[in-house]
Symmetry: C2
Subunit: 119 residues, 2 copies
């Protein structure tokens, strides 16, 4: 699980805001993929529940919040995982998820507007 592709697209050395310099196509595709992972209400709520919890969250605590089937939740968690927005680990019967702050920070810094108002 956490052994999947987990490397943040380019997180870590965070990244020029889109309002600072025009994005080249490669970075735009990378950023768009990140936004696409958040472009679904269920995924956004999943991430928000996971990120708002203390440390980590069991899938069994996630499912009851939603009115869709288990496989659907699992599918959305996979998309969040592949975007490196969350990571997970199986412990016994249950699987636990936690947020990846680097990726969240990467997104935030993309849309952050440097103090320039009228530069």
């Amino acid at each position: 699980m956490s052994k999947q592709k987990t490397a943040p697209p380019s997180a870590g050395g965070c990244c020029t805001p889109i309002s600072e310099a025009a994005l080249d196509p490669a970075r735009a595709a990378e950023g768009a993929a990140l936004f696409k992972a958040l472009a679904d209400p269920i995924r956004l709520r999943l991430l928000s529940i996971i990120a708002a919890s203390d440390g980590e969250t069991c899938v069994c605590d996630l499912t009851p919040h939603f009115e869709v089937s288990g496989p659907t939740i699992s599918h959305h968690l996979k998309i969040l995982r592949e975007a490196a927005l969350v990571d997970c680990e199986r412990r016994g019967t249950w699987v636990y998820y936690w947020p990846v702050p680097e990726t969240l920070h990467h997104i935030a810094s993309l849309v952050t507007i440097p103090a320039k108002a009228a530069r």
Copy 2:
């Protein structure tokens, strides 16, 4: 043009980060719509060119950056407009676009992680 629906979904009074408290379904839908507007490489580059420019950008300066048809650019600009990420105005023959900082700030504050590391 700028007479369209332009009201930011809930920008202005910015907004609890998803990592602070779990999003309710309504706010999640609202946020997801915003992320969806950015979930395309062309739209992300359009916004980035518009936001990186001084003040405003003419459509005729946008089109040459892309290899898709004019109507496609126009379609993507409409989506950015409806998400209140940009606004526009016709001046004579040309149409000019500029970014809406409030909405960008709203997105950034959604994914911002308050200094808490391990809260």
